[in-house]
């Protein structure tokens, strides 16, 4: 991105006032970027912004409360920051947001489906919407639009929810877009038995590593999660699919009206279980019931923390 030099300069300028600035740097191989915790000018030099920078760095913010933190954030990431502020889980005055225009994102599962095992990729480069991937066997030219994570295709973010500094290239278009939620539509076209079998099948793979929980910017109970307590005994220590499924419902319900659909749960899942769909469904229903979208308005009250004596959109059953 052309703005990266300008961004680095701004971070260098601000660094003396901050304890740390979180951004991305190149990871262990060509296709992986990794969160970077910058405290020195040398570390700022390593900063990268490209479609491989997939982590939502807002997830680190509650853990850094009390420190002066700078964060490099795409538009959708600022939605998570907005929600954290809404819930007073972080302090605005401790935070400096370096908002970058999103260069698009690569879903590594989709990339793997296209080019095979990612462990053999020698290089990957981006030129507008073209993605060129080299492995020892072949060179592939792909369309970034086809590699976008599902989350980039259900909501378009042109502007950040909040920003202290904004970095945009003049010729840059918004990559994410609002289309039909194909995953959810596909699921809802199945009959009930098929949906039950779908979840039972997928969730059976779960290894209970809780990457989905720990990566979630809104999962702020951290070490006090009810999934881990023995009393009350919400979950048993067994690894049958009921425990795994119940955990997903615990997570989804605790995120109801709070989830910012950043998709980190699904991205983090090492077993590639499509768990974001459950959160999306709840968000759709919340939007329909309460006309509410989480994280977009720092002053709004989340819908499950309030009520109306007469709920206009809830039709109660007559007996």
């Amino acid at each position: 991105m052309k703005y990266v030099a300008e961004l680095k300069a701004k971070i260098r300028e601000k660094l003396p006032e901050l304890d740390v600035v979180i951004g991305w740097k190149q990871g262990f191989d060509p296709v992986h970027a990794s969160p970077a915790f910058m405290t020195t000018p040398e570390e700022i030099e390593q900063l990268v912004v490209n479609p491989l920078c997939v982590q939502n760095l807002a997830t680190y913010l509650p853990g850094l409360k009390g420190k002066k933190v700078g964060i490099v954030a795409r538009e959708c990431d600022t939605r998570s920051i907005g929600e954290l502020l809404q819930e007073s889980l972080i302090e605005r005055e401790e935070l400096t947001v370096f908002s970058v225009k999103c260069p698009g994102a690569v879903d590594l599962v989709k990339l793997r489906q296209q080019v095979g095992d990612l462990g053999r990729v020698r290089s990957i480069s981006f030129d507008g919407p073209r993605v060129t991937v080299e492995t020892p066997d072949e060179s592939s030219s792909l369309d970034l639009g086809e590699l976008l994570p599902g989350k980039c295709r259900v909501m378009a973010y042109d502007e950040p929810v909040l920003a202290d500094f904004r970095f945009v290239d003049p010729d840059q278009d918004t990559v994410c877009r609002e289309e039909a939620d194909t995953d959810l539509v596909a699921l809802e076209q199945m009959d009930l038995d098929e949906r039950f079998a779908y979840w039972r099948g997928h969730l059976d793979r779960c290894i209970r590593c809780y990457a989905c929980r720990n990566v979630c910017p809104m999962c702020v109970c951290q070490d006090q999660c009810i999934a881990d307590t023995r009393d009350p005994h919400w979950l048993s220590a067994e690894t049958d699919v009921r425990q795994k499924w119940m955990f997903q419902l615990i997570h989804a319900m605790h995120l109801a009206g709070r989830c910012t659909e950043c998709g980190e749960c699904e991205r983090a899942c090492p077993m590639d279980i499509p768990i974001l769909t459950i959160r999306r469904k709840l968000n759709r229903e919340i939007h329909e019931l309460f006309g509410y979208t989480s994280g977009m308005d720092v002053d709004a009250v989340p819908p499950l923390l309030t009520f109306q004596p007469e709920e206009k959109s809830i039709t109660e059953r007559e007996w």
Binding site: E188, W199, M246, L249, A256, I314, R317, W319
Partner: protein
């Protein structure tokens, strides 16, 4: 007396202590006949009703879940049932995505004096669950 073909199904009822629990009592004292598929768990308020109780019950093999509390504006704690209504409506709407018929779960309001209404609710809900049949199970 069980609804339907005589085979009992497993229905879990979460009832508010201040109203529906009393309503069920009223129905009993008045000798109003009711199907016996329901097992009642008493709550201090429907505001205590974590929607996860419902999911946990269904995933543990319950065939239906019923929540009953005080009528809106009648909550013993003023507003517990107002919060509950939002949560429970939302949870109900999630059920089909998971492969459960949304009819396996209902929430409603029955006061302590409404023995007759309680009888109607239990009978109608039990019939509804019998129409749906046993819920999805995890046996492999």
């Amino acid at each position: 007396m069980s609804a339907g073909n005589g085979r009992e199904l497993r229905i879990v009822g979460f009832l508010c202590n201040w109203c529906s629990y009393g309503g069920a009592d009223t129905a009993g004292v008045s000798r109003l006949g009711q199907p016996t598929d329901l097992r009642i768990i008493r709550l201090p308020c429907t505001g205590r009703m974590d929607p996860l109780f419902m999911f946990k019950a269904l995933l543990s093999g319950a065939d239906g879940v019923l929540v009953s509390g005080c009528h809106p504006r009648d909550c013993h704690y003023s507003e517990g049932n107002f919060y509950a209504r939002r949560r429970l409506e939302l949870a109900k709407r999630l059920l089909p995505t998971l492969g459960f018929d949304s009819g396996r779960f209902e929430y409603t309001w029955v006061s302590a004096s409404e023995g007759k209404r309680w009888q109607q609710v239990v009978t109608a809900f039990t019939e509804q669950i019998h129409t749906l049949g046993p819920g999805p199970k995890f046996s492999h």
